[in-house]
Symmetry: C2
Subunit: 278 residues, 2 copies
């Protein structure tokens, strides 16, 4: 379906700790490194219970790059107190990212179903704006991840790459950019042009891969391993690379099905799928 | 949240037979009419087992308008034979619509996960084009219903109102138009302008209402009754009416939860929700 070439090495392969959810950080780091994976995206839960400096050295000593910290965001609320708490929490996420050496925090921007989408969208812009100075001081960016429209009610009111790009234009700050996830965006007829746009503006920070299964039986945790679904991942990777992206291809799979499997088998399957279907 | 006025009568209230799935056509017709509902959208399964003329008179005798026939579409397939069968089936749907007095057939356009979205989109345009002459001869239209992006894998590769409007422009034929369903489109930042656009072009045929629940626990059959979710239905109705639409407000709810309830209770709840949340 595509002229983009197969990935023949794992130099740009990153895995999210959430993908291998049963593994604690130490195990994930050891297993990823042994398999030739070169990057890790750390979910904040995996940082709990030990000093941040220790997590940093654990990862660095294994030769893995910290690709990003997941996740900040969840800015909107009808309750002004909750909105202030969210901003505080995002500043803490930035601190954590700086401490472990993550260049950006990925934002699941949030939505409050008790108010209009317009209002949630305004609060997202305000929330990100309130974190930018702190981000700049730390040298850590905020990566807006547009989420699939099926999450517009409660997880993110930013649902297309065009919206994320518009938001970057509006904020007009070097500490904000975009994370492109094929799961959320593959259906969009304007995806290629919006990828070009965020590449041109220098805002394309991150690229996440997995697949869309048909049927999908759960809105949250039924993502497919690359090749198990209908997304032309390689074609989208081609667009991202044409837009100048040369960062990590991050495997981010939430799957009740895979989380029940043996994680070593799953890791092996990820490696194979990365080569053949990404 | 909106300056649009409450619906104080049921003159423009239509219900889809699928909404009250446990009721056969005779029961639905009797119950709707007794409740003051003035329109019915008939799903094709409800026409089985009796002559079309009999269904037509059953509905007409109760004083109900046939608002539309659901549903045609499902044009794409990697198999050319299946694509021809789909076109034949859509022509039969047009015949059925003409026989029962439905002014259009609603199209769930289809998608085949085994091929690219681009290819499915081309096949949809070709499939509709192949039905237009037959539609014109019968005086029945085809209403393209853009479906939520969560159905892009297997139900419809037409996922935004902009796409449906573009498709109408491309087909440029008086027998094709658009059905706007709040469930599929509420998240779209361009919804208002695209509703204006299809009103301006005379393509806005139908308006479907229900609600988006948070959380949504099933991709197909967990729609909410108006007021049970986060869609500002009244505001969208305002946009549709500003665009010149004065047709029926069609209640189309697929809900395993409601289908387990007493259908008389559900009908009463629909009437109340129609007034207070639509």
């Amino acid at each position: 379906m595509s002229a983009v070439s197969e990935l023949t090495d794992t130099l740009r392969l990153c895995i999210h700790t959430m993908t291998t959810k049963p593994w604690p950080l130490e195990t994930a780091v050891d297993k990823y490194a042994a398999a030739g994976v070169r990057g890790i995206t750390v979910w904040r839960q995996w940082l709990e219970g030990r000093p941040l400096e220790k997590s940093r050295s654990l990862i660095a000593d294994a030769g893995l790059a910290v690709v990003s910290l997941c996740r900040g965001g969840f800015f909107p609320s009808i309750d002004a107190g909750k909105r202030r708490e969210a901003i505080d929490d995002n500043r803490r996420a930035l601190d954590e990212a700086a401490a472990i050496g993550a260049p950006w925090v990925v934002l699941v921007c949030g939505a409050d179903p008790r108010q209009s989408l317009d209002e949630s969208r305004r609060q997202i812009a305000d929330g990100i704006a309130a974190c930018l100075e702190h981000a700049e001081q730390l040298g850590v960016k905020l990566a807006i991840e547009p989420l699939h429209p099926m999450y517009a009610g409660d997880r993110s009111a930013v649902n297309t790459l065009a919206q994320a790009n518009d938001l970057c234009d509006q904020l007009d700050h070097s500490s904000v950019g975009v994370a492109v996830d094929v799961y959320h965006l593959w259906w969009d007829p304007h995806l290629q042009q919006e990828i070009e746009r965020c590449g041109r503006s220098g805002n394309l920070l991150a690229f996440h891969i997995c697949d869309w299964r048909t049927p999908t039986i759960d809105l949250l945790n039924d993502r497919g391993l690359m090749g198990e679904g209908c997304i032309d991942i390689r074609r989208i990777r081609g667009w991202v690379e044409e837009a100048g992206f040369n960062g990590f291809n991050e495997v981010e799979i939430f799957s009740d099905r895979w989380w029940k499997a043996d994680m070593d088998d799953f890791l092996a399957a990820i490696l194979a799928a990365y080569r053949h279907h990404s």
